[in-house]
């Protein structure tokens, strides 16, 4: 399993440059928002957390559709399906590798981008923390979508559409918790705990669904 993790990480660095595309897209998102809302710093800092969350969500979608496709095209997926290692584990490890290479850079970059949005320290911290906890959920859901798409001869963008509706709860609780951290009346902990719960649930359901879809897909 470590072998798989290392391989996927290595691949993501050697080809495609997943990490940077995500971060750059993220930066582009943050760079244009001020043009919409104008130079109103207060407003910017208020919508900062949700914007960062939306940016992270969309950036995670880039490249997620090829999570299994590359392995299928060169025949590696066949061999993975044949091993004794439970397929769920294989999928889980691939998700972890994808998260490490594609989403973690976003989480790390988010405090920096938060500065552009004129967010205060507390809010920056809360957003980064919720992103850290919440983005894995997106990856796990995405894996299920990618697995369904790989089973389709004409999958493609379909993944993002299958996946986006399912990410809505994550977005609600993530952005909600980040927002609550700075607003006094609304408590931070409940949405944050929901977020953790969502991630844990999806960490189980996502790989399971993906494994099922992959088994059904082979052709």
């Amino acid at each position: 399993m470590t072998a798989l993790l290392l391989r996927d990480l290595r691949l993501s660095i050697r080809s495609g440059g997943g990490a940077l595309i995500g971060v750059l897209f993220f930066m582009a998102v943050v760079a244009v928002i001020p043009f919409g809302v104008g130079p109103d710093l207060n407003l910017l800092s208020r919508i900062g957390p949700p914007i960062l969350w939306i940016g992270a969500l969309l950036a995670s979608l880039l490249g997620l559709d090829r999570l299994f496709q590359a392995d299928r095209e060169d025949g590696s997926l066949d061999l993975m399906l044949m091993q004794e290692t439970p397929l769920v584990m294989t999928v889980f490890v691939k998700c972890v590798a994808h998260w490490l290479s594609h989403s973690l850079p976003l989480v790390i970059a988010s405090p920096l981008l938060a500065l552009f949005m004129n967010m205060d320290a507390l809010s920056v911290g809360a957003t980064a923390l919720t992103l850290l906890v919440g983005t894995p959920a997106i990856t796990f859901i995405g894996a299920a979508g990618a697995a369904v798409a790989v089973s389709l001869p004409r999958g493609g963008l379909l993944v993002s559409i299958l996946v986006l509706p399912l990410t809505i709860p994550v977005l609600i609780f993530g952005a909600g918790a980040a927002y609550a951290a700075t607003q006094d009346p609304s408590p931070f902990l409940p949405p944050f705990l929901y977020l953790i719960a969502l991630t844990l649930i999806f960490a189980v359901i996502g790989p399971l669904a993906a494994a099922l879809a992959l088994r059904a897909s082979s052709d």
């Binding site: 470590t2 072998a3 798989l4 290392l6 391989r7 290595r10 691949l11 050697r14 080809s15 095209e73 060169d74 025949g75 590696s76 066949d78 061999l79 993975m80 399906l81 044949m82 091993q83 004794e84 290692t85 082979s218 052709d219």
Partner: protein, 211 residues
């Protein structure tokens, strides 16, 4: 050990491709599948490897522990090499060696040793994408050596190989059989392996198993 298929039939799209294919291999036996293009050789091998669902029939690998799926006892070498162009040969082989390793099973060959036995010891540091077609195929073959599996399922293994590599390949297969392994291969060219069973596919008209 026995590897056996009983009354297999399979479908591609909506059509039944073959029906009622049965055979049994025991230690050291090989089966060569031949037939015209599109007759369902690759389909049969993928069914044996558990990569396509059969329509009817069973595939079993019997070795004391009955309950494991047959696919876990098999190596599958398809038309595609299952190697990453971006990684070096060595990284590729190491990955598969580790990923396919089983606890308590016979260990496979060493990476260097495997590269040497397919005649490519010197270029293991190159990215896989830099190799020539035949070298890529040889490396894909080396993958079978780095982890032990009793059954090898090979789909046109000698495509793109030169004469010397053909002989080397036949030697490796013989060694595998001599060590009690089994082998199913689909091919259009004689493989140079001795004493094999053969199966001729006809495609849509349903194949016949010959002893």
């Amino acid at each position: 050990m026995r590897f056996e298929a009983q009354a297999l039939s399979a479908r591609r799209g909506e059509d039944l491709l073959f029906r009622d294919i049965s055979f049994a291999l025991s230690d050291g036996e090989a089966l060569v599948v031949t037939g015209p293009n599109g007759s369902g050789k690759s389909t049969l091998l993928r069914v044996l490897a558990g990569l396509l669902p059969q329509e009817e029939g069973t595939v079993r690998f019997v070795d004391g522990t009955e309950d494991r799926p047959a696919r876990e006892a098999c190596h599958y070498l398809g038309h595609r090499n299952a190697m990453k162009r971006e990684l070096t040969v060595e990284e590729n082989l190491t990955f598969w060696a580790e990923f396919m390793a089983k606890e308590g099973a016979a260990p496979g060959m060493d990476i260097d040793e495997a590269a040497e036995s397919v005649g490519l010891a010197g270029i293991a540091h190159l990215p896989f994408g830099y190799l020539s077609a035949g070298q890529q195929r040889r490396m894909a073959f080396a993958k079978l050596l780095v982890a032990h599996r009793p059954v090898w399922i090979l789909d046109e293994p000698t495509a793109a190989l030169d004469v010397k590599a053909d002989a080397m390949f036949a030697g490796l297969c013989q060694a595998h059989l001599a060590a009690g392994g089994m082998l199913v291969a689909a091919t259009h060219q004689p493989l140079g392996i001795e004493s094999v069973k053969s199966l001729v596919m006809k495609g849509f008209e349903y194949g016949e198993a010959l002893a």
